[in-house]
């Protein structure tokens, strides 16, 4: 059973809120839901949509097909009514706007309920009625959502009821068997990528956050601000991204677990600060939520175009770690671990997410926090007090010098963006400069020796079969295609990276040796993972499938593209 619902209209019509409420109702009813958002960079007008995929099992890939279209503007009807699956349901702002439209006048019924703005909620009622969702579940979510405003609640309850009644009166309505599971309220919730990353940061012990708003990274700052009381964190809206990264450097030097969230352009401004973190060996977690570039690009759209940027950001050599969560659950686990690793190795750790992963919402269960790291790696005050001396950049065999925070003991802590000696004082000595450079190289080797901190996913591996390689947010879509192909005797193996740097080349070599064909799939212009494989001397891909129009790969378009290249 699978039902697709698309809610389309103008910015400002509450499409996303309607989709969120509908998603929550369906999850409460025991269904699996996943949603994604397609929005323009504006606050009012234009053409946006929210897409919901409903099933009795987890289906988290991006799908273009839909059985129900709620179209709140003429533009939405024109653009999407042709794409509606048959027999589909078209719910329009006016039932006379299209010959296929259902006899439910969303705008009129909304006005009747007391406010034209409630047309989405009329549609919400209508959809729930089509799916035979009990009315009280609909009421429950509306009550939760409009708890602050009794008058709005009343209007919206009336709007939903009018939508429900209109569908009940509809004689030849199509049926959607399987949606009315009516299970008792389950433990699953709808959660977005940005929420998972924010929760991961809290689990990882973040105490200081600084950032400057930029789509699609802002939502993480907003989550952490909204939860700051329970999370007991300080969040600072910096005057610019340069300030944000330097605040992180200062706070982290002073012993706070620190993070920022930004996007391509904002991250470009931060890069000198990244280099500073590398030089002063100070931990930080940097979330880069990707959108297409160059420059302002497509502000509200998706891309996987910043791998090269974070891989090379900052002048000079210093070790770093780069992760790219593949699923919402990964966002949580990766971010929590990122704080531990950043502090353990005293390096910047990057988390590459993107607009798709940030805003999509699958239904999932509460996270397991029992296995997450829960200790700090700073030197204890008691240990420091007993030492006769302390040097922040003491030479060690693994390149990691114990980190003390200023103010924790009688020792002073000195760091310098200039090349420095073991104490942290600037130096011009070629001998010390070479030794410090070697220390940073040793640290990079220490990190690399751990192999993966986050294993790649390797699905359906058969040594001769064609191999598809991908990274980040494309996982669920490609997984779904792989299963479909396997059932049609066109099996391919799927290797999906979640740790982008460092790479475990010997592991990758062993996987890449045998497949008869290798295809790399990336939501970017230039095939950055494919280039990286070449740079590090791995077997190059035979094909690179890219998409760079600001939209995510979908199950439908990628199926065609994979078929074209698969041999």
């Amino acid at each position: 059973m699978e039902i697709g619902i698309r809610i389309a209209g103008a910015a400002g019509q509450g499409l996303q809120t309607t989709a969120d409420m509908l998603g929550q109702i369906l999850v409460q009813n025991g269904l699996f839901v996943s949603t994604y958002v397609d929005a323009e960079s504006r606050i009012r007008g234009g053409l946006n949509f929210s897409h919901l995929r409903i099933s009795d099992q987890a289906l988290e890939g991006v799908s273009e097909r839909f059985d129900i279209l709620m179209a709140l503007t003429t533009g939405a009807v024109k653009r999407f009514s042709e794409k509606l699956d048959s027999p589909g349901v078209l719910l329009c702002f006016s039932s006379s706007c299209d010959s296929r439209a259902a006899p439910v006048d969303l705008d009129n019924l909304a006005k009747q309920a007391g406010n034209l703005k409630a047309s989405g909620v009329v549609g919400l009622g209508a959809i729930c009625s089509l799916l035979e969702i009990p009315q009280d579940r609909v009421h429950e979510i509306l009550q939760k959502h409009f708890t602050q405003n009794a008058k709005l609640l009343e209007i919206n309850l009336r709007a939903a009821d009018l939508g429900i009644a209109a569908v009940q009166d509809w004689k030849n309505k199509p049926e959607f068997p399987g949606a009315n599971i009516h299970s008792p309220a389950n433990e699953r919730v709808l959660m977005s990528g940005h929420q998972a990353i924010s929760l991961g940061a809290i689990a990882g012990g973040v105490s200081f956050v600084a950032g400057y708003p930029m789509s699609p990274a802002t939502s993480i700052l907003a989550d952490l601000a909204a939860w700051s009381k329970e999370a007991d964190i300080v969040i600072e809206q910096a005057e610019d991204e340069i300030a944000a990264i330097n605040m992180l450097a200062g706070a982290s030097y002073a012993g706070a677990r620190s993070m920022t969230s930004t996007s391509g352009g904002g991250f470009c401004l931060m890069t000198e600060g990244v280099s500073l973190l590398g030089m002063i060996e100070t931990p930080a977690v940097i979330v880069v939520a990707q959108r297409p570039g160059p420059a302002t690009g497509l502000p509200t759209r998706t891309a996987q175009g910043d791998l090269n940027l974070v891989l090379h950001a900052g002048h000079g050599f210093f070790p770093r770690l780069i992760f790219a969560p593949a699923r919402i659950e990964d966002g949580f686990e990766t971010t929590a671990k990122a704080f531990d690793l950043a502090e353990r190795f005293q390096v910047p750790v990057f988390i590459l997410t993107d607009q798709l992963l940030q805003d999509c919402q699958p239904s999932l269960s509460a996270f397991d926090t029992s296995l997450l790291p829960s200790s700090r790696h700073l030197m204890r005050a008691s240990e420091l007090r007993e030492r006769a001396s302390y040097m922040r950049f003491e030479q060690t065999s693994d390149g990691i010098s114990p980190q003390a925070a200023p103010g924790a003991s009688q020792h002073v802590v000195v760091v310098d963006s200039d090349e420095h000696d073991e104490q942290g004082h600037l130096t011009e000595s070629p001998i010390i400069a070479q030794a410090m450079s070697q220390k940073r190289i040793r640290k990079a080797k220490t990190i690399k020796n751990f192999s993966w901190f986050l294993n790649p996913y390797l699905d359906g591996f058969e040594k001769d079969n064609p191999l598809v390689i991908s990274w980040g947010s494309t996982y669920s879509t490609i997984s779904e295609i792989r299963e479909d192909f396997a059932s049609q005797n066109r099996a391919f193996s799927h290797l999906h990276l979640r740790q982008m740097w460092p790479l475990d080349e010997s592991y990758l070599e062993s996987i890449l040796r045998t497949p008869r064909q290798i295809t790399i799939i990336e939501n970017n212009t230039d095939g950055q993972l494919a280039s990286l494989f070449k740079t590090v001397g791995l077997r190059p891909a035979d094909n690179v499938i890219t998409r760079h129009d600001g939209r995510p790969f979908t199950v439908q378009d990628l199926t065609v593209k994979i078929k074209e290249v698969l041999s």
Partner: protein
């Protein structure tokens, strides 16, 4: 045990030019900390790039010598993470008023409890004598052979106009005045800007010790720093006379106090508690 001058003793070789005003500032900072009984491990000096920002290396103290112009931003993060430290920032006027201008504006708005000491020698010294944000217009400089066409910034007027809660000016060679001003800046709760005039003995033949000796005057006991319009008149006035002292002051709560209220702090001492997620999950999902 009270703090002594020798606690701040450093073994680093000083890279400043002989006769540089920085020596006077270094001496005064140490003296102010001794008089306030602040030990090296309870003080953090943040700085950026240039000759002035090398200052923390030449004394024993917690040191964050970061990027050019970003010293105030780094100090803001450090103060929020470790609010039990007294945080000073040393910068040249290039870092504070040029490269870091936006951070200065934000710091004055926030009123975070840090003391910014700007070593103002009207010259980019370390990069060999280019014009700085406070160099007078119409002089020539190596990158402006036809003359400097931009007017100099007036940091004191700017700060007063933005209600910066402590605005002062002193002179590197007036030891007692400088020590007194630095102490007042540190004791002031909130953001303190101290513009410290100093000659550049290598590149600037105009603003010499003699020039400052002749043109500076110290504000008297009767001067009231609470009145912003009076303070503006003082620093915007047409006279060539240069006022030294606390020029403007107002009292309001510091940013760190407001931000850290109700938060476990210093943030430095925080543990990691993954279970915290459960509370948020329950409340918001």
């Amino acid at each position: 045990m009270s703090v002594e001058l020798k606690d701040f003793k450093s073994d680093q070789e000083i890279a400043w030019c002989p006769g540089c005003g920085n020596f006077g500032i270094l001496k005064a900072v140490k003296a102010a900390l001794v008089e306030l009984d602040l030990p090296p491990d309870k003080v953090l000096i943040c700085s950026g790039i240039g000759q002035a920002p090398k200052l923390p290396h030449y004394m024993r103290v917690n040191t964050f010598n970061g990027l050019h112009g970003r010293e105030v931003a780094a100090a803001t993060g450090a103060k929020l993470a470790a609010d039990d430290l007294t945080v000073l920032v040393h910068s040249g006027e290039g870092g504070a008023y040029g490269e870091g201008g936006n951070h200065l504006l934000a710091a004055m708005r926030r009123n975070i409890d840090i003391t910014l000491l700007v070593h103002d020698n009207k010259t980019y010294g370390l990069t060999k004598g280019q014009a700085s944000p406070t160099t007078e217009a119409r002089r020539t400089a190596s990158l402006q052979p036809k003359g400097i066409f931009s007017e100099p910034i007036n940091p004191l007027a700017l700060a007063i106009s933005q209600s910066c809660s402590f605005v002062a000016q002193s002179m590197s060679s007036r030891h007692e005045h400088l020590v007194r001003t630095i102490k007042a800046g540190i004791l002031h709760e909130g953001f303190s800007l101290i513009n410290i005039l100093q000659p550049c003995v290598s590149w600037d033949k105009l603003h010499t010790y003699k020039y400052y000796q002749e043109n500076c005057y110290e504000l008297g006991e009767d001067y009231n720093p609470q009145d912003p319009l009076h303070a503006l008149e003082l620093v915007l006035g047409s006279t060539r006379r240069i006022p030294l002292g606390i020029i403007y002051e107002n009292q309001r709560p510091s940013y760190d106090k407001l931000v850290l209220e109700g938060v476990f702090h210093p943030l430095r001492d925080r543990g990691v508690d993954p279970e915290r997620v459960g509370k948020i999950f329950e409340k918001y999902f």
